[in-house]
């Protein structure tokens, strides 16, 4: 395990996609210290800004401690290993990752897991806007993997999502799952307004009754067979899954009929 701690309070943003198990895995401590990152517009060696030491444990684990709210792109495109973050972390954490695991005990910035293809991100804290979303201009956002947020999340979470699962225990901002073409978003807290705006396909599961766009049509109350399966598979992440959720009925809203309209918002209506 490699442990990183900021040496100073960062005044300007840091771009540090080299902080990734894929990059660290075949490097010596010395080589790791020399990896280049961007401090504002200056290229600097990682070791100049971070205290780096070797700790006990798995070789493919990176641990970061401290206030890293200005450190961006950590774990970008990672495919393996594990990053543990104790503290706040900046934007683009785990963007386009395809495998491995990221755990945050603190808040995470915008574009968490944007366009990710696989792997797991768990955040115990607040998550910014556009988690699991697509970057501007992209046709597709998250294509696979899992994002678990034990806390609140911002706007446009899961925008343009095609596959994978996002589960949030707290409240979500507006436009959750906007323009999504597949995948599943589970909201245990308060689902913000305009959820599923423009969605073509995919599922938003809510245990709170949201306000619906006028372009979602109530279709039925039923017990979708996949819901217990999905919830059971999410149990291991310590989510607040009640027994009633597994056995309950769900009210189904089809939408967004302004768009293709083959998506659904399922609202738990009790057992």
């Amino acid at each position: 395990m490699i442990i990183l701690r900021p040496k100073v309070r960062f005044k300007v943003p840091i771009e540090a996609e080299c902080i990734s198990p894929d990059v660290f895995s075949d490097k010596s401590m010395d080589e790791i210290r020399k990896l280049e990152i961007l401090y504002g517009n200056k290229r600097k060696p990682l070791g100049e800004l971070f205290e780096i030491e070797e700790g006990q444990g798995d070789g493919e684990t990176i641990k970061m401690e401290g206030d890293m709210s200005r450190v961006k792109h950590v774990g970008a495109q990672m495919s393996k290993g594990r990053i543990e973050i104790e503290g706040d972390i900046g934007m683009h954490l785990g963007r386009e990752m395809s495998g491995g695991e990221i755990l945050v005990r603190g808040n995470a910035g915008d574009w968490l897991g944007a366009e990710m293809k696989g792997g797991l991100i768990t955040v115990h804290g607040r998550v910014g806007n556009l988690a699991g979303a697509g970057y501007r201009g992209s046709k597709v956002g998250m294509k696979g993997g899992t994002i678990i947020v034990n806390g609140d999340a911002g706007r446009e979470v899961g925008e343009l999502m095609r596959r994978g699962v996002i589960a949030v225990t707290g409240s979500l901002g507006e436009f959750t799952g906007a323009l999504m073409t597949g995948g599943t978003i589970v909201c245990f807290g308060k689902l913000g307004g305009r959820a599923g705006a423009g969605m073509e396909r995919g599922t938003i599961l809510s245990f709170d009754r949201p306000s619906f766009l006028p372009t979602f049509k109530r279709s039925c109350v039923y017990r979708p067979t996949f819901v217990p399966l999905l919830l059971n598979s999410l149990r291991k992440y310590g989510l607040p899954i009640k027994r009633e959720y597994l056995e309950g009925s769900y009210e189904r809203y089809d939408g967004d009929i302004a768009s293709l309209g083959r998506g659904e918002i399922l609202v738990w209506v009790g057992s």
Binding site: D110, G128, N129, G154, R155, E156
Partner: protein, 124 residues
Amino acid sequence: MRLLLNTGRTVDQGVSMERGKTSSEYFEKVAVAFIHPDDMKELGIDEGDAVRIETDFGSTVLKCVKGGTEKGTIFVPMGPWANVLTGPNTEGSGMPSLKGLTAEISGTKEKVTTLDDILRMLGG
């Protein structure tokens, strides 16, 4: 009383801006809040009275102008006074919250906030 705040352009704001942003005309045309007559009645204020407006982001005193907006909403022309009330968080969009803000409004005996006051708030 709680009203919905919008900000935006007006001809007067545009013309007076071209006159000069430190001009008294700019102050006259921009340090104002357009309020619906019904809401004015409820607030117990007349045209020309000072009103204090407060949002989640800040608070300022403006001169009331009658009409030019719907009941339940107030309109403040784009400018430094509106800026005290608007929200800088763009929520990942680049666009701050400049329209559709919730504002608390009340009549006041205070003087209308001056440009100098605002510059002081800026720390400039």
